[in-house]
Symmetry: D2
Subunit: 472 residues, 4 copies
């Protein structure tokens, strides 16, 4: 995950607040930290910090960021330790000038590239892939003295997912990997400001107009000489983004429903999924109810298809998120109760079909099913708007190990028993493709087929000393 | 508004964290400040602050609050100035011991009572009604030396809305005014802890069981001698809370949908309102959509009744709330854009019927209608799940002046034009009563008939120098 | 302790920053909290907080305090608990308008007055004497409708130490108790701003000129009608402040050396004390050295008188004060080492005579003597610039109980042994009076003779359950 | 400036709090920021922040730093911008492990080295010399795989001042440049913990014992194999540290008086300087007074030598340092008044000889002389405990440009007139050498003779576009 945003103002407007608003709209993609760097043509100004966008930035520090071109980043915590050193954009100075990088995705061979760079005497101050990319890019720049060629060369050496926004000496650059794993789009507003954003909702908030998605394998350059596009990969020989392997979970869970990804409305996808799920896994229940917030839209579709009334049987506390939980036995349940409360009056004596977007470990699903049963439900049936997750993601989505994925070792029936549901149904892979309406997607986590080489990052490490996953 | 919560533990458990969780569940009733005071039988411990519950409290200060009886408060800002002096519970020491008061509601004659107390030499350190009540209560206590009689005596002198939770020398007291304007309920858990809470969701979060609502005109005392109830008013001669005049907006807008008020499910009310609204004000549209979050449940009912598909045409940014908006012309619109974004793909060329809970000034409605039209809607019809608001509330809900209420001076047709809607329909008063399912409610803001004497607080003041409202 | 400061601007200048600077100069009188309240003639604006003056105030909140008359307070923690409720000025509204009180001193009968007020129905929100005074003052104002007469009446009922600065409806009032325990002085600047300050250093910092000290038993009123003085007590029949019983420790320890108290330079007093101490308790040593910072000036006088070279044998870490000390056995000594470090090169093999201002418990003195011996001193002689402290202070100086005062139960010789010194000498009471150059002083802590009735505040309380001090 | 501190515990004690206390004692060497990094043999733990040591560290973060070897740094702001990126220790990971560097001093050719590294593809994330050293060191390590040889090789390429403490894979290393510009010393305590510290006061605070100073051109290695010393430079062919060119200002101004530098007591130096200054520049005055705090010790020596009484005529507000000054014309003077206040009673009608450590621009001296004259002094004579500063420092002391140094262009007589003094006298260079008692020192700023090549860092830059200083 992570959200990235960039602006170039041909009208030489001060754009730091545009980035601030853009990051605000992308806040759902990362809550751990945020950063902005802008250039006024001579100097860089930057500010980063841990926390939500409105916690990191205030009127004072936004006004101190003066520039007409700049980039921003919201960070999603993929590891436990959250330190300011890992906040992006990653900013370096080199003999060819300043370079700032905001990255969404995960580079599979970054550990190999890093090792190789370290052997050449390079030193690292963070544990981010962005720093690896920065080193590679500067090395290429010294050879080629051309940013376009340098990015092309670097892209040949990195395997994995990368939507990048780069600020290089007053040039704004957007790059989307050849697989198009992560979304990236381009917009423009009436004041001749150009935007690059993880999602279209970032362009909407600044009153911009969507131009189009960045194509997989495409690089966009925007500077005072204008707007240019370069195709740096034709490995996929695709004429359309939707032939690439964008992450299916962007549609199912991560992206904001008001965004379009590769021209497809996320909202419509989720509603379609609900309808297809209803056809594939119907249920004779009194009410359909979502696990909020991620199951809401699919539940509406499911309800509509089967003509079962839609009810919000679980109410979410909108203020949860920052609570500390006092450590004690009983308070594990409390964490769920603080967040969700069942509406007993609509649950009592009802057969409830509950719609959720996915099951990972199964522990939260079990707590929710139990909660609804305690509230008086006669039966609780669970329907999932995605296929069984059987393999970890190596492209940037935080998931537990393969062993911890409940669907990796258990059948649907066993999972049903584990989570205490009366019945359980998953969307099929075909249903998912149809619901999204794309020819291809990255389905690695539900199929085990990875669209790129997989280099096991964990082999022979402390984390997985006995890894024998068969990957490099 | 404001939320109040109290606990008495017969098992002498430390209950500060129970109050913390209770306030957490009541956070929607007030975000300006929070406070907790507990007693260990000898000493009071308290902590208050400005901000959300998890901002005011942390593990350290919760652990310093040691006691088996205590009360808490979340404050809703009714005025612009937010100062710590006005945070509750209001705590005083007197010759008869310690007294802490948490208040939800508005006392209409508090200015008169305060003036009179001041003339007798009393001094005030805050501008809250709670301080006035504290003075009156201590005066009565000195006379009667009996807390029950004192509260009865004070209640005879105060006019208005008051749900109170009082901590008096290790006794926990709950009081609900004879009109029952604001909700207040009682619960218990397995460890013999008794709870008094603004809403039932506060009792749910601590895994308590609802006993019942406090009756209008009832006082509940809980101390080591047990649990007692006193009826301090029979002016209403009601045998049931639902014959009293509880604020209709608690059902329509304020309370959490998972709460029951006077035995009636808030969630069901909102859904019913949608259905009745559909019958009273049907609309031939392609889609039904709510203004999130308050219109959601009614929109579902409306959709179901008319069999028009339900769509979430506006997506709310879950992280909005703490943004600073840089001051500039264009950024008034931005405030709405940061919060809500239309899903163009489902709006384009559609007739949309939009469901909202109420219209106050009309300015936000207009911005939203415009936003949906700009997103491509063919027509935008607005349906409101409550009657026209024509009179201000004097019982604790923050509303603009009568002049600023758009429905005070404009007809439905004129309002429709003002907000740029293609049609507009309000729920009738009869529909509202039917939807809630009560014989009586406080309908002052939609009918102009106030259930109590109204004493104009603003007459001849700087705020309304020319007030000639006819009220005292 | 505590420091108080007030300003009235006849030129209607905005004076909040004057108060800020004044409090800054008085910071040594209290580091626990600070507050400012100002009036613009119509409204009060106030800000208070825990911490040092520059921590509590910033450019933003100072600029929000708009007024031409106002008062401020720095609070000295006399109890362990530091809560914002006890921060001053104490501000109340009454039927006769606004009243804010800043108090330096301790009212001995405040518990009795408070009890009596509570019995009359008054309620209290803090534990400060200021709140008691506020209640009494408002009561009198209601009777007399005259602030001067009211203060005269109140003064007849309170026993103890009180330098007060009061803001009453745009009038600035300074009051000094008939004993003149605490200092209070008046100044003026070129812009027709009048100042009342605990010490003259507060007037210096705003570039004011000292007019004179407020006399014991005098009240100063400053408002748009001018500057007036009232004598509210002639119990002392003194024509001069220096015949009153000002606290001797103000000269010896508390006040800043650059201040004048009742016309007498604090710096000169300390130097004189050193010289007199040298005559009374000479010592044959190689070097004279102070315990910094409080012993510095007396050590210089001592050195000069005996012609023994003056050396700073202990260096104080200027940044100490805010350290947390990790709790462990060895770290009690560390606390002293962090603060003071001996200069071994000047101590080694030397006979050192060390000058300190006082000995309270003796524990710190012992640590310091040990430290100097470990640094190689041949002998360590201690000379104290005040007499033996044998009785607690009831007028506002934080002291341990009588039992904890080492000189209460031990002879000079026994104390010498306890602190490991080779010899020990105290200043005589006569020497102290001579050094200060006043006919009279409050010498209660060194003589046991209290200048007022003493009402034991602690009798039969938890703090001193077995108190049999013989006082009321 | 800057202060550095390191510990290696042979008893495998957890040493993070030792570093905390050590930095505390070195706080006078840098107040802008602080950082600690420790190793437990496997992992590094670090924490850095802006502010004073007790502001950056708290019990929680100190306890999270677990290790038996570690280093710390306090940062002195040499530029206006204070950013966390520049806080040290600078920590990097490389192919040969982890490296953390704490640096005191200024590398003159760092810009050239950086340029050269950048041309080889190295990238930089800060503007510190430490990062340049880190790059060079890792490059050498890759070649030699030997840390000792690597440091020797790097030292041959860097010109300037560097006392370094390095943590390299559980080895603690101390390095002092061949000129010995900055102090660095070694200590040990009873628990077999070894210390390296900028000053001896850092060793005192942890109850350690001074072993000796690190020699100029020496490198100290401490790891589980023991303690080793390497001489990496014999360019100076010195057998004694005091033949090297240590910065004279360490003795005169920067170091704490309780420290020894190269075996010489800083306190004694300052007292000697006062005596020598008295002989060289006597003055017929009534009193001798210091400009606190830096002039105190020399003033005592001056007073003693001439037998003129020593008085503290200026009192320093101990709490100054964190004030914000509201911007207005009159408040430039206020900044001085907030910090210093004259004791009028001892100044009035007196001839005062004022002792200060140095004059840089002359503006502060003028304000102080004026202040004392306004306080009533008959004459004010200024004596300076160091020679005229005529040339900037390039070794790490923040000084204005040559043009701004008043003594660069003005004679003593002209300076005397500028600062409004009645007479002015400086210590001679000979007097300084004699006072310190060393054969050699870095006297660049008072003589213009630099002990190393000088490479102009500023040539043709924005800061000095027309620099023609003749240096490389």
């Amino acid at each position: 995950m992570c959200g990235i945003f960039g602006v170039f103002s041909f009208s030489e407007e001060n754009i730091s607040k545009k980035i601030y608003y853009g990051l605000y709209a992308l806040q759902h993609r990362g809550q751990e930290g945020a950063g902005i760097v802008v250039s006024n043509g001579k100097e860089l100004f930057s500010h980063k910090g841990l926390g939500l966008v409105p916690e990191v930035f205030n009127e004072g520090n936004i006004q101190s960021l003066v520039g007409h071109v700049g980039i921003g980043h919201v960070r999603y915590s993929t590891t436990g330790s959250s330190v300011i050193e890992n906040c992006q954009p990653f900013i370096v100075s080199s003999s060819l000038g300043n370079l700032a990088i905001a990255h969404n995705g995960d580079i599979l061979n970054s550990h190999i590239l890093r090792e190789s760079l370290e052997k050449q005497g390079h030193i690292f101050t963070s544990s981010t892939d962005s720093e690896v990319i920065a080193h590679l890019l500067v090395k290429e720049l010294l050879k080629t003295e051309d940013i376009v060629q340098s990015i092309i060369n670097v892209s040949k050496n990195i395997i994995g997912a990368y939507s990048l926004i780069i600020l290089y000496n007053n040039t704004l650059i957007g790059v989307r990997d050849p697989n198009g794993f992560k979304p990236l789009c381009i917009g423009r507003d009436e004041n001749d400001n150009y935007y690059i954003s993880s999602e279209t909702c970032g362009i909407d908030v600044v009153n911009g107009e969507l131009i189009r998605d960045v194509h997989p394998g495409e690089m966009i350059l925007i500077n005072k000489d204008g707007f240019n596009s370069y195709k740096f990969s034709d490995s996929l020989k695709t004429s359309s983004p939707i032939s690439s392997t964008t992450c299916m979970f962007e549609y199912v869970y991560f992206a904001r429903p008001d965004s379009l990804i590769d021209g497809i409305s996320v909202y419509n996808v989720r509603r379609n999924i609900g309808k297809i799920l209803a056809k594939e896994e119907p249920c004779d229940a009194h009410i359909v109810s979502p696990v909020p917030d991620s199951g809401v839209t699919s539940a509406i579709g499911y309800s509509e298809e089967l003509n079962i009334p839609y009810y919000e049987a679980l109410i979410k506390n909108r203020y949860v998120g920052r609570t500390f939980i006092l450590p004690s036995q009983e308070e594990r349940d409390l964490a769920v109760r603080l967040k969700l409360n069942p509406v007993k009056s609509i649950i009592k004596d009802k057969k409830v079909v509950l719609i959720d977007d996915s099951i990972v470990r199964g522990t939260t699903s079990r707590r929710i099913v139990d909660m609804i049963k305690r509230a008086g439900a006669k039966e609780v049936h669970l329907r999932i708007g995605s296929p069984k997750i059987i393999s970890p993601c190596y492209y940037g989505i935080d998931m537990p190990t393969k062993e911890e994925l409940i669907a990796n070792s258990k059948s649907v029936d066993e999972i049903k028993d584990y989570i205490h549901a009366d019945s359980l149904g998953y969307l099929s892979i075909e249903g998912l493709l149809k619901g999204i309406g794309r020819k291809s997607l990255c389905l690695a986590c539900v199929s085990g087929n990875y669209p790129t080489d997989i280099l096991c990052k964990f082999k022979n490490t402390d984390k997985y000393p006995n890894c024998n996953c068969g990957r490099l």
